[in-house]
């Protein structure tokens, strides 16, 4: 065990022709990255971009929370505060969570899971990454120009003002990022449709792929509407066309309709891929077949469809007719059913499984806990009478952080840890990984749970100051935020450290049965020379642990049949 030589390490003493080549070391130089068409490299670049954005957005969050330590002014006045929460929200939503799981992790994993050599349109994939960069640049421009204080929702008439360059820059950013997201989604749908390997029917697909498929559907059906809305708002700002601007006879509520028609489905763009990750993580780390496969798959699609019919729940107090409000409220309730089905299935998968508390699993469990709270509080907001009280308070802030930060981002963290050995070819320190996870979990709850209480007591959102009686809870929340920030830095440090000092990862460290674990870690440039034969991705008995390798190998390769891995179980359900 001790003498595993990492022949893939470019710094190893092996002459190149004896080195094991993989996608990371098969070519060198910045050009081989920036002009690569390899989905894995593109995914890595996304992952880095997302991480940088996450810390930038996080920095703003820390500043915001610091300001809120006391009702008096500490760091900034109201104007700066407004700008800061706008940038925080916009960066976190558009640059971190939306591309996080699908574009970064999905890009790396999806084709490998499919046993394909690449996504259907590699060039478009690279193009969408460049669009992402371009969009991020516009956001940075908005930051530098300053004065963007509309909130991430860009509500009119805040967002229609005489010559406000930063609003225009940010909107251009949103527009461009939207197209990045559309192209990723389009690529994934086509890849899943046309490039599945022999033996992989729709219902033999890993659930992560189902989730990405449902996500991609939303991406291509909802994002164009955001695109045109952003474009119209830009045109409104530049030419004053009087569409959304009430002073020219426009209708600001129309903007809200357009915006939420995209942005509610977009919250499912954020959560669905994370749910897919959890389906994988829970099954693999419990070493048990996923429970209720079809229910999970169908519920992803159901969420995607229902997600289009509920946007009005963000506008209960914006002046829509009562009948419409009641209908939106009812549909919003029903959208929580598929989510609950999933949670039920995950819990049942764990039941009588042999759960290993690896870091990935710890993040998975955190997800379950936090998502349950986030989803249930959504129901309070979907109830008309309570929403009138809770709308625009910290309750909403806590709700969407439970689902966006607590669930989507936890899903991303789980995914990164689950597939890290595959992506980097290295094992990270489970000890530090788990410590970081604990910190993230505690820090998160400490930050946002008090905000539910603040909200029910009437603390409105988006204010830089508050009544003195709210201070204790605000201080608690800020403390939690610091813990959260430090822990996520620790998480990244642990992972980065592993690149340099980590043990070489085996092909299948956790015992997953889906195709990506059949490929070496890290995968070779072309993933698979020939499409592999796919079986049921959740028959965990098809792989058994091998001491020598330190990972799992297909049961039929394990020389002596020691009972545990009799049949590969390919056709089992």
């Amino acid at each position: 065990m001790a003498t595993v030589v990492d022949s893939s390490d470019p710094k190893s003493n092996y002459p190149i022709q004896y080195r094991e080549l993989n996608y990371l070391n098969c070519s060198k130089g910045w050009k081989s990255w920036f002009f690569t068409l390899d989905h894995k490299r593109i995914g890595i670049m996304y992952l880095m971009g997302v991480t940088v954005s996450f810390f930038l957005g996080g920095l703003f969050a820390m500043l915001l929370r610091t300001e809120l330590l006391s009702p008096a002014k500490i760091l900034m006045g109201p104007d700066t505060y407004n700008q800061m929460f706008t940038l925080h929200g916009a960066i976190m939503t558009f640059l971190v969570i939306i591309p996080g799981v699908p574009a970064a992790i999905g890009n790396i994993i999806l084709p490998v899971m499919l046993g394909a050599k690449d996504v259907a349109f590699p060039r478009m994939n690279l193009g969408s990454f460049y669009l992402w960069m371009f969009g991020a640049t516009f956001f940075l421009a908005a930051l530098v120009i300053g004065g963007l204080d509309t909130g991430w929702t860009f509500y009119t008439p805040y967002s229609v003002r005489e010559n406000n360059a930063s609003i225009i820059a940010a909107l251009l950013g949103v527009f461009v990022l939207g197209f990045s997201s559309i192209f990723t989604g389009l690529n994934f749908i086509v890849t899943i449709h046309t490039m599945r390997p022999p033996g992989m029917t729709w219902f033999k697909m890993p659930l992560f792929l189902w989730a990405l498929y449902a996500t991609a559907l939303i991406q291509i059906l909802a994002t164009p509407v955001l695109g045109i809305t952003g474009l119209l708002l830009i045109v409104e700002n530049v030419f004053r066309i009087g569409i959304f601007d009430p002073s020219l006879g426009g209708d600001p509520v129309l903007f809200q309709h357009f915006f939420w028609f995209y942005s509610h489905p977009a919250v499912y763009v954020m959560i669905l891929p994370a749910m897919g990750v959890i389906s994988e993580v829970i099954a693999v780390h419990s070493r048990k077949h996923i429970f209720g496969y079809r229910f999970i798959a169908y519920s992803s699609i159901a969420i995607a469809i229902f997600g289009f019919l509920v946007w009005g729940h963000h506008m209960f107090v914006s002046g829509q007719s009562k009948v419409v409000a009641v209908i939106f409220s009812a549909i919003t309730f029903s959208v929580s059913i598929p989510s609950a089905i999933k949670v039920f299935n995950w819990l049942t998968t764990m039941y009588k499984g042999s759960i290993r508390f690896t870091t990935a699993m710890c993040y998975g469990l955190s997800f379950l806990f936090i998502f349950a709270i986030g989803g249930l509080t959504g129901l309070f907001l979907a109830t008309l009478a309570t929403d009138v009280h809770l709308h625009d308070t910290y309750f909403v802030v806590a709700h969407f952080h439970y689902v966006m930060m607590g669930s989507s981002l936890m899903g991303l963290f789980a995914a990164v840890h689950h597939w890290w050995p595959k992506i980097s070819g290295k094992m990270f320190s489970e000890f530090w990984g788990r410590i970081a996870c604990l910190g993230v979990f505690l820090g998160f709850n400490l930050t946002f749970f008090p905000q539910f209480m603040l909200g029910t007591r009437g603390m409105p959102r988006r204010y830089y100051t508050y009544l003195p009686e709210f201070q204790e809870l605000h201080v608690l929340s800020s403390m939690g935020a610091y813990l959260l920030g430090i822990s996520s830095a620790l998480m990244v440090a642990t992972l980065v450290y592993s690149i340099y000092r980590g043990k070489k990862a085996p092909a299948n460290p956790w015992g997953g049965a889906s195709l990506e674990w059949q490929c070496s870690s890290p995968p070779p440039h072309n993933n698979f020379d020939h499409p592999p034969l796919a079986g049921d991705p959740y028959v965990m008995e098809s792989v058994v642990y091998n001491e020598e390798i330190g990972g799992f190998v297909p049961a039929e390769c394990q020389g002596d049949n020691n009972g545990s891995g009799t049949a590969a179980g390919e056709k089992e359900v």
Binding site: I16, Q17, Y18, R19, L21, N22, C26, S27, L37, D38, A116, K117, D118, A120, F121, P122, I182, L186, N187, I189, V190, H193, T194, M195, I220, L221, T223, P224, V225, G227, I228, T229, L231, L232, V235, F239, R240, I241, G242, I243, L248, G249, G250, D251, L254, F258, A507, Q518, C519, S520, P523, P524, H525, N526, N527, F528, D529, P531, P532, V553
Partner: protein, 354 residues
């Protein structure tokens, strides 16, 4: 385990030499059929996103038309139905040649394909030419989006006695009313139009340069083809613009003829009354916001289509397409039909309101 999937010789990231050496088949596909199906699904999905992209505008049209029907009734009369119809025909024809081109590509008839593509490109350019005339002319009458809109009433204020002339189409009517100043206006229009076409020329030229840069190993053939596309586009554009200006001028000079007067005396008298009954609504500019947003976005799509078609032309000249590899033609053809279809909706929605 596929650990040994890469051989040590596979050094360079993006040079794949596998079993197949067919340069027309991308490395990650198993067969031409798979490659074609993939592209086909991709383009259909892309078209879905395009439809949704426009659907925002259509939604917005629906909302405002239902809220302010009088605005649409009043303002749409300023659009020139004849020019709109002409453009519709031009686009429909281009769709025909495009479809024909796809058929040629499937049959491997390179010459036929080239001819069809060239005609399609020319039609697109003509469309743009007519459109630029329409824009310029609107601009000169102050018929702009809400923020810049100037009421045309000041033109017509002096026109009460000649109201009968103002029947057929508002701006002609206005022209009647104040012949002298309108002639000047017309000259100005012509002048600005030349600015507008110059700008479009620049766009075409730049696109041409960009297109040429897109090709990896350009040779003389490539350059000639790109240049040809640029020329076709520029000539088509100019043709469209001059044709519409000619039509306008012709209509202008010929208007106070017997025929016109007769028209004015017979049917349109009611119209004239009707029209007088419609006072200028408050939000008339909103109609032009809708008009410019929708047709502007559509025009951008036309330009995009022209670039794509030019790309096809260059590749056709190089003989890239064969009976088993014509996906690109098919896909861009589909895109072109969609752009066409959108115009088919825009035309009645904007021009034919009664």
């Amino acid at each position: 385990m596929n650990t040994a999937a890469t051989t040590p010789t596979d050094e360079h990231a993006d040079s794949h030499d596998h079993e197949h050496h067919d340069p027309r088949l991308a490395h990650h596909f198993d067969s031409h059929q798979q490659q074609f199906d993939t592209g086909k699904l991709g383009i259909w999905l892309f078209l879905v996103t395009e439809v949704l992209f426009f659907s925002g505008l259509f939604g917005f049209y629906a909302v405002y038309r239902s809220l302010h029907p009088e605005v649409f009734l009043y303002a749409s009369q300023f659009l020139d139905t004849v020019l709109g119809a002409a453009n519709t025909i031009v686009l429909l024809f281009s769709s025909l040649t495009m479809a024909w081109g796809v058929r040629c590509a499937q049959l491997g008839q390179t010459k036929g394909l080239l001819t069809c593509l060239v005609i399609t490109l020319a039609c697109a350019a003509i469309f743009l030419g007519v459109k630029s005339f329409e824009y310029t002319e609107k601009a000169h009458h102050g018929l702009l989006w809400a923020g810049m809109y100037q009421s045309p009433e000041h033109h017509e204020a002096a026109a009460v006695p000649a109201a009968a002339g103002a029947v057929e189409s508002g701006d002609h009517g206005a022209a009647h009313a104040d012949d002298h100043s309108d002639d000047a206006l017309f000259e100005k229009t012509k002048h600005t139009l030349s600015y507008m076409t110059t700008v479009l020329w620049a766009v075409i030229l730049l696109s041409g340069i960009g297109l040429a840069a897109l090709f990896k190993n350009p040779n003389q053939k490539t350059m000639a083809a790109v240049l040809g596309c640029v020329l076709i586009s520029a000539i088509g554009l100019q043709l469209g613009a001059y044709a519409s200006i000619g039509y306008h001028h012709f209509g202008h000079a010929a208007e106070p003829t017997a025929q016109e007067i007769e028209m004015a005396e017979t049917v349109p008298a009611e119209y004239a009354k009707q029209k007088e009954k419609i006072p200028e609504p408050k939000l008339a500019g909103t109609f032009f916001s809708v008009y410019f947003c929708m047709t502007g976005l559509h025009a951008i799509h036309i330009i995009g289509g022209m670039i794509a078609i030019s790309w096809l032309i260059v590749r056709t000249v190089h003989g890239a397409f064969t009976t088993y590899y014509f996906g690109a033609v098919d896909f861009i053809g589909l895109y072109w039909h969609l752009v066409d279809l959108i115009w088919i909706y825009l035309f009645p929605l904007l021009y034919l309101i009664n």
